[in-house]
Subunit: 358 residues, 2 copies
């Protein structure tokens, strides 16, 4: 059903499109790497499947292809970055680099970003810290699809959190997750297969439990991690709220129900309190706490011990956060990235529109 493309093919094509809309050579390269890291790591909903969505935002003049991204306020360990309506795919690596530079100087760096757009997958940005022997943290708010505990109203985005922690001989620990029970991409997969969603993923527009994977189209909402109050959804709601506040209220971006929608055809919310969407990044230098080698030895011990923990019946192994995505990346870099027909058609349409070979 799907067609497989090499990383290089998709890289060349995506970069050409970003160049066509007026990105600089360096920005087009950065944006492409951010975008394709999702395809490589198996987060298919956030990769080239979204390229045409980014382009529509540019056509709607909600994305600036030549942003003057800049620090507008800072202290030795913090900064606020104005993304100047740039692609989040470019703004996020800029802000992570600011955080890394601050961590080099004073041990840690913390950067809140306003006036940005969708930044792809959080894990890609968090992982920028790893090669410097630093811990990387990345989070972002997103347009509202999630109802707080006891609510039926769309108030929060899926607001993901990623944390990347270096290890020694073992691969790095990389957690990257939405603060909901399930991300929207998983519902889309179920809809395509005409399957029901498990209970605890979505509510209908009145707040009743629903198993209709297409319930969002009827005004339904996603629910916070936990599912319902009895199972701790107030904790998932709190996490999503913290991401929203760190990303947007610290920086001056929009928050809660006012976050701009990703689809360019959806009108912007009224009376927006900030600029664009917000992100938050953190970097901690390992040796600001203890010798990096010591830390890594203990991380290896942690990972080895958790991998060896006793499994329940029917499961072969306990997974370390980041394992599945890393294995997927190796596999897809070698054997290519499968794309669904709808995504291929989308890219072909871009190819025709911008006269770029695909």
């Amino acid at each position: 059903m799907s067609t497989t493309f090499s990383y290089q093919q998709l890289h060349n094509f995506s970069k050409s499109i970003f160049l066509k809309i007026g990105c600089s050579e360096a920005d087009a390269e950065t944006a492409t790497k951010s975008l394709l890291s999702a395809d490589l790591r198996g987060v298919d909903s956030h990769g080239v499947a979204r390229l045409s969505g980014y382009i529509r935002l540019w056509e709607a003049e909600r994305v600036n292809a030549n942003p003057a991204i800049k620090i507008i306020h800072e202290t030795p360990s913090t900064a606020v970055v104005d993304g100047d309506r740039g692609l989040g795919l470019v703004v996020a690596p800029f802000a992570m680099q600011v955080a890394i530079d601050k961590a080099k100087a004073v041990g840690t760096g913390w950067v809140s970003v306003k006036n940005s757009n969708h930044f792809g997958i959080a894990g890609h940005h968090a992982m920028m810290a790893l090669k410097h022997d630093m811990i990387g943290i990345a989070m972002t708010n997103a347009s509202a699809l999630v109802a707080p505990t006891f609510s039926k109203e769309r108030m929060l985005g899926t607001n993901p959190i990623a944390v990347a922690i270096p290890a020694g001989k073992e691969p790095a620990f990389v957690a990257d997750f939405a603060t909901t029970t399930a991300a929207n991409g998983k519902l889309e997969i179920l809809q395509r297969k005409n399957l029901e969603a498990p209970t605890g993923w979505i509510q209908d527009k009145d707040g009743n439990v629903s198993t209709n994977a297409g319930e969002l189209k009827n005004g339904g909402t996603l629910v916070p991690l936990g599912g319902d109050k009895e199972h701790g959804s107030h904790k998932g709601y709190a996490l999503g709220a913290i991401v929203d506040i760190f990303s947007a209220i610290l920086s001056g971006a929009n928050y809660g129900p006012w976050v701009p929608p990703f689809p360019a055809y959806i009108p912007m919310p009224e009376n927006m309190p900030g600029e664009g969407i917000g992100h938050f990044f953190g970097v901690m230098r390992i040796d600001a706490f203890r010798k990096a080698d010591e830390f890594k030895e203990h991380m290896d011990k942690w990972i080895t011990r958790f991998r060896a923990s006793q499994t329940i019946a029917g499961q072969e192994k306990v997974i370390i956060p980041g394992d599945p995505e890393r294995e997927m990346e190796v596999e897809r870099m070698k054997n290519g990235i499968p794309l669904l027909p709808a995504v291929v058609a989308d890219l072909e349409a871009l190819s025709n529109k911008f006269k770029v070979a695909f």
Copy 2:
């Protein structure tokens, strides 16, 4: 069934006990405030109900009543604190103060702590930042009761995270939650009432779903927030893991299955890789990002908007994290703190043992 005591009664008694085991006047006061904040805020499992447990740890020479708590490594924005086997109730406020001082100097402060003990409720420590117009973060690891996704082995503690964020006219946002679906204290309440636990809270020793609220006594395990893989338990597991790593691998404390147990009668794990239990604290000065007044206005707007979001049938309001605990604190400061007979008996035994009036 329960007997009610005034805050002042319980304060005087607890402080006298801490003085009797040899705490300094200042430490006894700090420990008492940390301990009783749990009773005031309605987290009954973490308040005076645990006083005799702390004393048993001191009797077992696992708690040092006169610790030389000190910074053993630091940069402008970070520190590692050695708690010298002190009460976590005292070590945690010391470490938070270090983080606050660093935030004053360079915008943020991040402190990892080793060689400590149980610190009471995380929220109390996080809230120390509020009066300085700073965001406070507190987390701790704890002895293993939780199985990672796909595992039946006790590998992580309930590893709570607290985040306190100042607002303006509205009360502060204070999230404080275990990274499991339910904290152990909730199971104890169900057992006392002879009720079953909801599915998704615990597994039996083989990893099967269980609704026996006493399953932990049979070798069962708590499960991470999410409950099972289908409902995102890998996210709760990742959160608990991040708390463990930040608290213990950054500092040199014990981690995973090696964290010392709270009950003094349980033997210590073998081949422990670190010292004591670990905590992690973070403080961010609001005006290291933007003017504090501006931030607070937007926090008020966030809180007001979320409070006003549409509720599902049968629910009167959407809760802002920290609302129930703050309301409980006002109520209990005014009308007293109810204690169960078992807790009263425990305190009476301490009263007899230490010849302190109760």
